[in-house]
């Protein structure tokens, strides 16, 4: 169970804190944050012009605006063009801000018209009744590539209806990203949550607090749920019943709440309550945070900025271990659905299958952000992925290999050990989990009260969705 800190024992770089604090840090932050000027042209919308011939069919795809702009550029201008020409289909792809995927989806359902393929950033279990089941293509791909990743299955399969309502396209593991020099300076470790708890006050004392959000946004949702797993405070059990209010789950949740409260009181500042999804990136790239839990967009932005002082010092690690387990959520679970009212279902299905069978390039082009829903999509499975990620040229060399470890062993879906049900979906979208943690951290409720309140709400949601027959 070693993590990156132990694995990579590279010679310590002669970077002093002084160096890091110099203007270089600001530069990293600046260019990375404000969108490196190199990645300027946004060709991420609009139909593609086919000069050669008139294509027969039409396929409309809606996806998010990827955190790695280069991926979208390649996807729009190269990949879908190629696929379209090979299959005699004109592909139109649109991108929107990930926060607005749900409302756009809802509008399309209300209108009973829209795109054929719709990508969601997390399993869209609330839309189950509006989409066609995809058991057939799932089987087809499984036959060719082997079983899908565990996290993918739990995210797209409804055991009650026995249907795959979505096609798991990609997921992004959620590593810890930290500044090695700061950790070394205080002699801290990130192996377990207890280690982190002890290191936090020391880090805050040197002016570089820990950055674990408790705000109404996706980063906070993911990391706090992961914390619950590590302490055994599961919200559901395998049968998707709400169990957080009782027994070991309750105890685990209370402990997790206490740990977070400790970390906040001694090692974080108030800012973590006011964050947007971008804030932890911003603060990390400004050189302020020492630890953050986020998808690799932080590390990649640091590299893009050209500030090697910062990016070389940014290491990745698995999520710390809790007394019960070491486990984290995926940061993004990209699921495609095909609406019941889609016009070109055949082309949509073929597109999904083809994309998965050739996922290698997607993985690389997204700079290792997109892990394929089927691990076998990259020939050689996880070992091959590890080798690929080791080729990344940024220092410290091989730092991205830990992503493979995380993806293989420490990544699961929200709702673990159950599926990602509409109940979980609604809990996430109304930010009940950050609410619970923040209330305790700010002293507005005791851990016991908070857990009870949360369990009450979760049970109410469970009853509601059970009546819908979806859980």
């Amino acid at each position: 169970m070693s993590d990156a800190v132990d694995e990579l024992d590279s010679p310590s770089s002669a970077l002093t804190r002084g160096d890091l604090l110099k203007r270089g840090t600001a530069a990293a932050f600046a260019v990375g944050m404000f969108g490196g000027l190199a990645e300027k042209s946004f060709g991420f919308a609009g139909p593609l012009q086919f000069a050669k011939k008139q294509l027969a069919g039409e396929l409309r795809i809606m996806q998010w605006a990827h955190f790695v702009p280069a991926y979208d550029q390649w996807l729009d201008n190269v990949y879908v063009k190629r696929w379209g020409e090979a299959n005699d289909v004109e592909v139109k792809i649109d991108h929107i801000n990930n926060a607005l995927l749900y409302s756009t989806g809802a509008a399309q359902v209300a209108a009973q018209s829209g795109h054929d393929l719709f990508w969601f950033i997390s399993p869209p279990s609330t839309f189950q009744k509006q989409v066609i089941p995809l058991n057939d293509i799932v089987q087809e791909v499984t036959k060719k590539l082997g079983p899908m990743a565990k996290v993918a299955r739990k995210s797209t399969y409804n055991p009650r209806t026995k249907q795959f309502y979505g096609f798991p396209d990609d997921y992004a593991p959620d590593p810890v990203q930290y500044r090695r020099s700061f950790l070394q300076e205080v002699g801290g470790s990130l192996r377990t949550w207890d280690d982190l708890r002890r290191a936090a006050p020391k880090l805050k004392a040197i002016g570089h607090p820990v950055g674990l959000g408790m705000s109404n946004e996706i980063d906070s949702n993911m990391l706090l749920t992961s914390l619950l797993y590590c302490y055994g405070g599961f919200i559901q059990n395998e049968e998707n019943r709400i169990v957080i209010g009782q027994g070991s789950n309750r105890r685990g949740a209370i402990e997790a709440l206490q740990v977070m409260r400790d970390i906040y009181r001694n090692g974080m500042s108030d800012e973590v309550f006011a964050w947007t999804a971008a804030s932890n990136n911003q603060a990390f790239l400004a050189g302020r945070l020492s630890v953050a839990l986020n998808a690799i967009s932080i590390a990649r932005s640091a590299e893009d900025s050209g500030n090697t002082a910062l990016s070389d010092d940014t290491w990745l690690a698995s999520i710390p271990r809790g007394p019960v387990m070491r486990m984290g959520n995926e940061h993004v679970m990209g699921v495609f659905v095909i609406w019941k009212f889609a016009k070109n279902k055949e082309a949509a299905k073929k597109y999904l299958v083809d994309q998965m069978l050739n996922y290698r390039e997607h993985f690389v082009r997204s700079k290792y952000y997109n892990f394929p829903g089927w691990t076998g999509a990259i020939k050689g499975g996880f070992p091959a992925i590890r080798k690929l990620s080791a080729q990344d040229p940024h220092k410290p060399r091989g730092k991205y290999t830990v992503l493979t470890t995380i993806a293989e062993k420490y990544t699961t879906n929200p709702g673990f050990p159950g599926n990602t049900t509409p109940v979980i979906d609604e809990i996430f979208n109304t930010y009940l989990i950050p609410q619970m943690f923040a209330e305790v951290a700010q002293g507005k409720a005791t851990p016991a009260e908070a857990v009870s309140g949360f369990a009450r709400k979760a049970n109410a949601l469970y009853r509601k969705w059970r009546n819908q027959g979806l859980v």
């Binding site: 530069a27 404000f34 609009g46 605006a65 955190f67 801000n97 409302s103 756009t104 209300a110």
Partner: protein
């Protein structure tokens, strides 16, 4: 006086920020009010430490100019439709409807209490069935729904202030009501009409929920919908360009409003309640 500063301050700040370099903006120590060099020092020749890069980016690398145009088109069309429908209605309620004109006026107002975050779903269905998805016509069709009520109410009040005698004189002279309206009422009500124009236009520019859901393709968007989508990519906020984007429509509009303010005031005084 302090209120005026409070109101205007964010815009001064936006003005400064849109020209800031990334390095300058990123440094927590630097003053947000001025331009700094890398060490935080201030120089009188501040233009050497600022950049127009972000403004250029806004205009060249996004669809911003197109969005401005779209917003203008939609606004103009909606204002036209509003006037077309609201003027007769306002006139009728003012002159011809008698008692229940008052209550109708109140009823009209109630339309504003319905949240668009709820309405946009059934409206999506409507838009799709009319095959207006992804087109500015969708907005042009829907927006008058929230401009007409207020316009009618305002014009109703305004028409009431015009003495009945003027019209009667014209009618006696043999003109039809329509002629009376066109030749006599219209010119006098110019302030009121201007008021309606300004208000309706500002309502259109501000609206974003419908603008966002009905139109998916970037070129067709209006300013309020396009900017949050394209200038905020997940983790990254393009702050300087955002500031520029905010300022650029605000300034001409404010100038216009200011210029018409006197007329507007007359319009409002004349209207509303008499």
């Amino acid at each position: 006086m302090p209120f005026a500063i409070f109101l205007a301050f964010p815009f001064y700040f936006a003005l400064v920020t849109m020209f800031k370099t990334n390095l300058d903006l990123a440094n927590v120590e630097h003053s947000p009010y001025l331009y700094n060099d890398l060490e935080g020092g201030f120089h009188w020749d501040f233009w050497n430490y600022a950049t127009t890069e972000h403004v250029r980016f806004l205009f060249e690398d996004t669809n911003y100019p197109r969005w401005l145009l779209n917003t203008l088109l939609v606004g103009a069309a909606v204002v036209a439709i509003t006037l077309l429908l609201a003027m007769p209605a306002g006139y009728a309620l003012a002159r011809l409807a008698g008692g229940w004109g008052q209550s109708a006026g109140v009823a009209i107002f109630l339309v504003y209490l319905i949240p668009p975050t709820l309405l946009f779903l059934p409206l999506s269905r409507l838009i799709t069935q009319l095959d207006l998805k992804d087109s500015l016509w969708a907005l042009i069709l829907i927006y008058p729904s929230f401009t007409i009520p207020f316009a009618t109410w305002l014009l109703m009040g305004f028409f009431k202030t015009i003495p009945q005698e003027l019209e009667d004189a014209a009618l006696i002279d043999g003109a039809s009501r329509l002629k009376a309206f066109g030749l006599i009422i219209l010119p006098i009500s110019l302030p009121g009409i201007l008021t309606v124009v300004i208000f309706a236009f500002s309502l259109c520019v501000n609206e974003f929920i419908y603008a966002f859901t009905f139109i998916s393709s970037s070129e067709q968007r209006t300013v309020s919908a396009g900017i949050p989508n394209d200038l905020i990519r997940g983790d990254v906020f393009f702050w300087q360009s955002l500031m520029a984007a905010t300022l650029i429509p605000a300034i001409p509009l404010a100038l216009l409003y200011n210029a018409f303010l006197d007329r507007f005031i007359k319009g409002f005084t004349g209207g509303a309640f008499r």
